[in-house]
C-alpha cells in the first residue's frame, strides 16, 4: 500500500502543477488594476489650470449633474483622437467634462485646446502626476464617470464609439 501511495502522490502533484501552469498560459500577463465602481471621489486639494486657485475636488463635483473626469495631455497621441469624442459629448446638457492636465506645460496645453477646442468646464493642473494617483490612474488617457460625488465607471485608454454610446445611455 505504502509503495503505491508514493508514485500516486508524485503523479498527482505533477498533474496539479501542469494544470496550474497550463491555466496560467491562457491568462494575460499584463495586469490592469481592479476597476472599482461606486466609490467616493477622492477629497484632495488641486490647482485649477486657468486661475491657479487651490480648491477641493468635492467642490468641483458638487451638482447633481453627471461629470466626466478626463485625464489628458498635449503630448499624448491617443488624447487627440479622443478629443473629438469629448467635443461631441459636451453637447449633452446633463454632462460636464472636467479635465486633469497630466504632466504637461501650460503653454503646450493651451495650444492643444486652441487647435482642437475646449470641452472642459474646469481643468485641474497636475504638473507632477500626483493628482492622477489619487484617482487610481496610471496613464493617459483615462476617464471617470461621476455622479453625486461617486465614481460610477472608469475608462482606461481612449474612448471608443461603444464607450461613448454607453456614457450617453448613463446620462440620459
Amino acid at each position: 500500500m505504502k509503495n503505491k501511495l508514493l508514485p500516486f502522490s508524485i503523479v498527482l502533484i505533477f498533474i496539479t502543477i501542469f494544470i496550474i501552469f497550463y491555466k496560467g498560459l491562457q491568462d494575460t500577463n499584463l495586469y490592469t488594476p481592479e476597476v472599482k465602481t461606486n466609490y467616493e471621489v477622492p477629497s484632495v486639494s488641486v490647482e485649477l489650470f486657468d486661475s491657479g486657485k487651490i480648491v477641493n475636488t468635492l467642490e468641483i463635483f458638487n451638482t447633481d449633474k453627471f461629470y466626466l473626469l478626463n485625464i489628458w495631455s498635449s503630448w499624448c497621441v491617443p488624447c487627440r483622437q479622443e478629443h473629438l469624442i469629448l467635443m461631441d459629448l459636451i453637447k449633452n446638457d446633463n454632462l460636464k467634462i472636467i479635465g486633469i492636465n497630466y504632466k504637461d506645460t501650460k503653454k503646450n496645453a493651451k495650444k492643444f485646446l486652441e487647435e482642437l477646442g475646449n470641452p472642459y468646464d474646469k481643468i485641474i493642473f497636475d504638473n507632477d502626476g500626483t493628482n492622477a494617483i489619487e484617482w487610481g490612474a496610471y496613464g493617459v488617457p483615462e476617464s471617470f464617470l461621476i455622479n453625486k460625488n461617486k465614481i460610477i465607471k472608469k475608462y482606461i485608454g481612449p474612448f471608443s464609439k461603444e464607450s461613448m454610446e454607453e456614457i450617453k445611455l448613463f446620462i440620459k
Binding site: Y31, P33, K103, D128, G129, I133, G136, Y138
Partner: protein, 120 residues
C-alpha cells in the same frame, strides 16, 4: 567662540541629515516593494516611467506626512489593488501561497524522519 559656533552647526545639521537619510532608506524600501504598472516586471524603484516617478513623489510626501510603511502600502493598495505590492499580504486569498512551503517542509521532514531516522 569659533569652536563653539562650529559645534553648534554640527549639532544642528547632523541630526537633520541623518533624519533625511532614514527617510531615504524607507523610501527606497517602499518603492522596491511597489510594482510599476506601466513597465510591469520592474519595481517603482527601478523604473523611470512617468507613473513610477509620480509614485516616488507621493511616497516621499506620505513619509513626510508621518505615515508608516504599512499605512503607505494600504494607501496604494486602496488605489490600485493588492497587485501593486510585490509582497502578497497574508489573507484568505494567499493562505495557500504562504503556507504551502511550510506544509512541504513538514511533510518532507516527516518522510525523511520516517525513512532514515526512525527505521534504524
Amino acid at each position: 567662540m569659533k569652536i563653539f559656533k562650529l559645534f553648534l552647526i554640527i549639532f544642528f545639521i547632523f541630526p537633520i541629515n541623518s533624519l533625511k537619510a532614514d527617510n531615504e532608506i524607507l523610501k527606497n524600501k517602499i518603492t522596491k516593494n511597489l510594482r510599476c504598472l506601466i513597465c510591469q516586471g520592474q519595481s517603482v524603484y527601478d523604473s523611470d516611467s512617468e507613473f513610477a516617478n509620480s509614485l516616488k513623489i507621493v511616497v516621499d510626501s506620505k513619509i513626510d506626512e508621518g505615515l508608516s510603511e504599512k499605512q503607505i502600502y494600504s494607501y496604494f493598495q486602496s488605489k490600485y489593488g493588492e497587485w501593486i505590492l510585490y509582497d502578497p499580504l497574508f489573507n484568505r486569498n494567499t493562505y495557500f501561497l504562504w503556507l504551502l512551503p511550510l506544509l512541504i517542509f513538514f511533510v518532507g521532514g516527516a518522510i525523511i524522519f520516517n525513512k532514515f531516522i526512525k527505521k534504524p
